[in-house]
Amino acid sequence: MTRAQTTPTPTRVGPGPTTFSPGGIGESVRRPDGVPKVTGEFEFSSDMRLDGMLWGATLRSPHPSARIWSMDLSRAEAMPGVRAVLTHEDVPGRKVYGMETPDQPVLAWDRVRYQGEPVALVAADHPETAKRALGSIRVDYEVLDVVSSAEEALAEGAPELHPSGNLLRHVRIRHGDAEAAEARAEVVVRGEYEIGMQDQAFLGPESGLAVPDGRGGVDLYVATQWLHVDQDQLAESLGLPHDMVRLTLSGVGGAFGGREDLSMQVHACMLALHTERPVKIVYDREESFYGHVHRHPCKMRYEHGATRSGELVYVRASLVLDGGAYASSSTAVVANAARFACGPYRVPNAVLDAYVAYTNNPPCGAMRGFGAVQTCFGYESQMDKLAEKLGMDPIELRLRNAMKEGTRLPTGQKIEGPAPVAELLEKLREMPLPEGPGGGTRDLRELPGGVSNTTHGEGVVRGVGYAVGFKNVGFSEGFDDYSTARVRLSVTDDGPLVEVHTAAAEVGQGLVTVEAQIARTELGVEKVSVLPADTRVGSSGSSSASRQTYMTGGAVKLACEAIRRRLFETVAERHGEDPEGLALENGSVVSDGRFVVALDEILGAEPIEETVVHRHVETFPLDEDGQGDADVTYAFSAHRAVVDVDVELGLVRVVELATAQDVGKALNPQAVEGQIEGGTAQGLGLALLEEIQVRDGRVLNASFTDYLLPTILDMPPVRTEILELADPGAPYGLRGVGEPPNISTPPAVVAALRDATGRELPRMPVRPEALVGIADGPPRRRPQPGSAGYGTLGSLEERRDQ
């Protein structure tokens, strides 16, 4: 088997037999790109090649904070096989970029602000030549003091990273009258919590191929989440009009937020325009850790006041997020953290302050859950603490305060449509618990640590924990959030064909499947082809914020409806039918089930094409008290974690994760389950394994050897209950699906660990040393059966006594 190597064929599988997987919405339709993905023929961004192509590479700063005095490129330039060596002086247009705040240098000039910041570029015939050329570049750095935490950055007299100061944004929310409420609080719990820096760790590395067009413009084939925001920034930094910077989505190997910002895009285009040859850049895994933003580390201080019967009276919270060296989407992340800081509960009074600061740590930005992940760990830890103090079952406490339709958030925004917090918790409570650790017949592989566990399980304790979380769907705070879809209905030799063209990024989530399902359902046509995503059609916005099925799916639906209207007008005219009674089924127009005319006949040689822009309801910025209808809608999920902890060795086995989630409408049930299971796995990773460890601005574990992702041995079975409570404002009533599982999993796992160990565990990921009390002080109490109100199992010893 050989492959054509001459053209950078767009990745999305075009028209062809594999494209047509039958099935409309509500069915578990197969992916149209599935066959090439299982045969290895699907072309990811790192797979593209062209004859005469060069390899681009990036020189990165070894220092988290330094001044650049000079650079000597001469040895690199003289190296055989090296075709270009570029620095900031070669950036044709704006020398900085950024989605919201353009504060990040395309290539550093005068200062570097984080370890791994790009400094120079090389293009060479072979990747090894490029790598050696990078090694021969001499940069004269003067190492400067490192601002290594957000607290340090916000302290008096801290060195300033940017002229605007180190405070990137402060979001202040004042709701009700917390001071007056304090008097009514009979029980108060306080806690401090911390969350480490998680990485998206998508498997397909940052990569793309830039192809100069010979007329001063460039075509970029790239793995990204949002083609048009890349195009905007590329046009600025390349100093070119938009129509000379054309982007096509190539195969994307996962994203999870980490591809929202630019990585190699401008660099590859600069090298291609400079050398007048195609240039491919592919990061290796270490570079990938430096090449994209991460989830914000966050420190949280909480105070919850409640009545003795468990009614929340007020919440005070102070959240400090580490934004790293550049803005990325930090200003939006911190606002999410603030808006959802009280959780999906009725909280009549709240004082919330969230800060994000510049530091010399790796830049942080979007990752699945976007600010809501951090605070869910905070408020759910608090709810458990409060339940314990009240001697109440933690589910009862949550049910008592559960948000419902009509509840007002601390921003004053009223929840429209179902908010099934109580229903989700009830569903979880109804699910049977997995069997306990099995006595003498226990398989060694089922011990925490597996066969590496050196004991016979005598220190193994089971714990159970619950958590519920929520977040916004779509972009908030007045952002003009829209998606464009172009749909064309035509007749081919094989009958009617629908072509769907959008710029929305398929990143693995299955958007291409859903787009085809919608078109099939709306137009009653079996053959639907989803065209490659590119910038020849209007923006679809980002594949993020759980928004793409809602926004682009909604745009496809509207475009199909527009086509249907035009078609029915023609049918009404020519066949004297009432257009109101017409429908499309199996390639025909019908009226009350009666055949009227075949699509082939009515369309003839004249296709119908419609391009439609779909906007969600208007949202509004927060005012100075953090009040405003900032969000479109919300999505909710709850998790129950069952863990076995070896309390002597600090080893954990997650026995089961159960979850209930409201998805409004499951357009593709199998894909919905896939999102829930995948998000749950990333949540388990955050709770137990995943942290980019940063010391004095330096990353200690930029590899898959040292940054631990959950393997198939770490992931337990996931028991899933899907609710479909229609969101009245959404296409088909659907809600976003992707992010919620990542929000409610981590606190559920940590709650289960607390249940098993009796320790406070205020920080995640929870390390073995914290579980055995080395990092966390002695246990507050001995574990008691059912002590936290959850499980019925305590330590083995206690169970023997029973």
Partner: protein, 155 residues
Amino acid sequence: MRLSCVVNGEEREAENVWEGESLLYVLRERLGLPGSKNACLQGECGSCSVYMDGVIVCSCLVLAGQAEGREIVTVEGLAGEGGLHPVQEAFLETGGVQCGFCTPGFVVATHDLLSRNPGPSDAEIREALAGNLCRCTGYEKILDAVRLAARRMSP
């Protein structure tokens, strides 16, 4: 150097191979077989898994020169004339594919597992696939795929 080996049943040659290149690099960049993937390049993720003389290896950890005269089978070589291999079919059907970057490695590793152990227990499946990372699926549907393929392939 010049490299000769049999890949997916065909004699293949690559010219001007630099001695430091991995088998993965040669497959992807010189032989037009990018199905084997480059997620970690240090033997942690399994996305580059291929057979070398019938033994599954991480091709990123094999120097190209070590493949001289050997027989390599990549994910591109698993589907037969009649269509997809049952393992590939099962991954498609159960939803074991999302972004697909890990899929070639999982398909090869599952193919290997089922050729050694046609009726694996869940614990055996987990053990056999513990060297393959997936970031999208949470592995649940991958387990479904392996179970389904095993059922279909058993006589």
